[in-house]
Amino acid sequence: MKFAIIVFPGSNCDHDCYNIVKHVFGRPASFVWHKEIDLSQFDAVILPGGFSYGDYLRSGAIARLSPIMTAVREFAGRGGLVLGICNGFQILLEAGLLPGVMLRNKSLKFICKDVYLRVDNINTPFTLKYFENQVVKMPIAHAEGNYYVDSDTYSQLRKNNQIIFRYSGHNGEVDDDVNPNGSIGNVAGVCNDKGNVLGMMPHPERCGEKILGGTDGYTLFESIVYYVEKMKHK
């Protein structure tokens, strides 16, 4: 299977995503410049973290207008797997591929640290290798990760099992004490209604190797690879 890693001006986790796909999983990966318009040769698309267009105006607000986003929308529409991490998640929100908006962290500060997440839905291509309600540790690094939707949309997301990750304690408890940024319902990652587009603030690509202090992100990429190579065409 082949991964596309979209490079916007200001993306800075593009090399990290490339590293885990290419060197940890040994799968082909290509950087795709944001001015390109074709994603037809890829099986999965990653919108990496960073500061596309310097986060000027609003995180993701300018990047959503890049030529590649038309191709991303088509790719997702055909059922292709799209993963937006951190700034990639913000771009997916701005592009309307996922519901909701991102506010500044409640503390108004950038936060970089490991957090615990509870995996709330393992029936997606991104999470099928986790087990039900597994608690995982992943780093966050953002200033605008305070996810917000109105209450109707939030109910809808819950009903459709679109909430994939929630910030939690190490025993899986979900409450305000373990909410690092003020996100509604401690939401850390959501998918679209078809389940093929995932946006998440935590960085799975930063915890896929033992030497980096954790491997809970490995499982996410393992799920994607397994889904595409073993399940999709059956």
Partner: protein, 740 residues
Amino acid sequence: MLSKEIIESHGFTDDEFERILKILGREPQIVELGIFSVMWSEHCSYKSSRIHLRKFPTKGDRVLQGPGENAGVIDLGDGLAAVFKMESHNHPSFIEPYQGAATGVGGILRDIFTMGARPVAILNSLRFGDIKLPRNRYLFSGVVSGIAGYGNCIGVPTVGGEIYFDEIYNNNILVNVFALGIVRKDMIFKGVASGVGNPVIYVGSKTGRDGIHGATMASDVFDETSEAKRPTVQVGDPFTEKLLLEACLEVMNKGLIIGIQDMGAAGLTSSSCEMAGRAGTGIDIHIDRTPVREAAMTPYEVMLSESQERMLIVTDPAKEKDVMDIFHKWDLDAVVIGEVTDTKKIRVINRGEIVADIPVESLTDEAPLYERSIAPPPYLEILHDLDMENLPVPPDLNNVLLTLLSSPNISSREWVFRQYDHMVRTDTVVMPGSDAAVIRIKGTNKGIAMTADCNSRYCFSDPHAGGAIAVAEAARNIVCAGGEPVGLTDCLNFGNPERPEIMWQFQQAIEGISAVCRKFNIPVISGNVSFYNETNDISIYPTPIIGMAGLIEDISRCMTHYFKKDGDIVILLGRNIEELGMSEYLREIHHKVRGVPPFLDLDLEKKVQELCLYGIRQCIIKSAHDTSEGGLAVALAECCIQAENKKNTGAVIELSDDIRVDALLFGETQSRIIITVSPERVKELEGVAVSMGTPVTVIGKVGGEKLVIRHKSAAVIDMSVDHMADAWRKAIPGYLGEEQ
């Protein structure tokens, strides 16, 4: 004819102006006056420091590039090299903390990628005044946000550093930034304008009116009017710098350029002069072709602007178009603004009219050089006098330890590094908070340990000893992480060099640093001097910050300071001595800044470090922590307090040294490392220690939930580690009024 006011406002002495008249053989034009002013400023010319800097040992087997280029380069083997340097941005950060600090990060990163290296790590050394004063809290928060804002956006992890608070920095804060990059040995680029007729290309941001005379501002003392200097502070744009970084590395990787230099202090002026100076050529600049942000900018303003995120590139005419195409792909300006000449002159041409015509050498190698007068300060005798006999031992030592752990200089720095993305690039193996940060080098088995150190109170009391200790401690920190020190960079922050006692401090510190460098065979490969850190006649403590890098051959054997397992044996490498001079304990508890710094025995230091490194490489040692501010008790507490989200560890320690208990617990004796080993390997370690001649003492065992320290069987410390951790973690947010 230039008026006397104009000449004076450019900061020249009468002698210096005479010298200009002699060089040119005529009155300077206004643009020329501006060029001389910035190039001869202390900041650019190092006119007071050059003589002394020559004393640094700068050679070594691994040195590929020593001082004199944009940054130094150290050979790492495997065809790879590390490029690193440290720089100050003190004056601008005091005037405008966010932008001052942000552009400090931007500037040092450009120095690294100008050499062809991709920056992979940032450290910073910060000094602020008393944290209890509101203005200092504003400066502290502003600087941290500025570093975070720039570093996070460009995607280079800020992996460590150090911060101290002392009222001596109330009106002169220090913001020193260290950056390190990795480059293939055969892809190192330099700032040379060679090849007569070659085009000189301006790339990056447009030039604005920000930062005009920044270098001159940084070469003067502060007074009440300093606030008005805000327009001399540059404004940073990390997004553009990210584009510039990627575009520059792309043109370099494709072999499209001959020379490259960033426009830092003194902007277009210094970059063009230095590039021509190094190559022994000249440059003609058509100033009217420079991309500008504002209409009607004069040649004077364009030459002196310190607008950020700009580079000057010299290339082959045949490759010019390819260079342009790459910069345009990244949406950056790229314009040919001049060409390399054989005139050895820097000529600035505005719409056909020559507005500056100056011999390059007069601005670089032949800039003024001063041997300033030197005299020891009068305060030393009183300062050195510490009456230990009349210094009471506090009755409650638990309380002393708690006070120290929650003091501004010892408490947790989590509030700071949590705002820095310290994990981006997925190389960070040892996170901020240990003795040294460690990053891996992808594609190899290797890692690099990095640290920045200086105890300026020691330097104030004895700059020679203080400088020496800074290097010894930096090396000790590298060794505690499992690294072998391979090179250092410095950032020498001092007061006004026109004062003999300041020059004495400077000279002494350099000698102290050099002595340890020689003993440990660690070359100085780059550095920076910041003078004039003085306000209303008060100078900062001499603060020569040492940034050091160490090589870890096998990244799987890097080390942290945390105690690892109950039952492990705690061993002290080195010796305890009765010393309290200039300690954190003396200042926090007895409110005294007195005495001499701890004694540094270089032979002992070497033996302690050798044993520690050996033990880590042989996998005997399971944790290693250097004892520094706050002494043995604070170091032991730090070993017990685990990273956030992890359960703390206790320890029981037995000490029998025949010295007063407060000195034993809180004295800052050098050359000591606390390690742990499994019980079954204690004998082995002791055996190696004997053969190396390193003093070691088994002092206790890991376990329980409390830190208990007994001195001659009496418990002198007995406290829950959770309680200590809480005080240590909540201190900085508490000082800032942000209880968590």
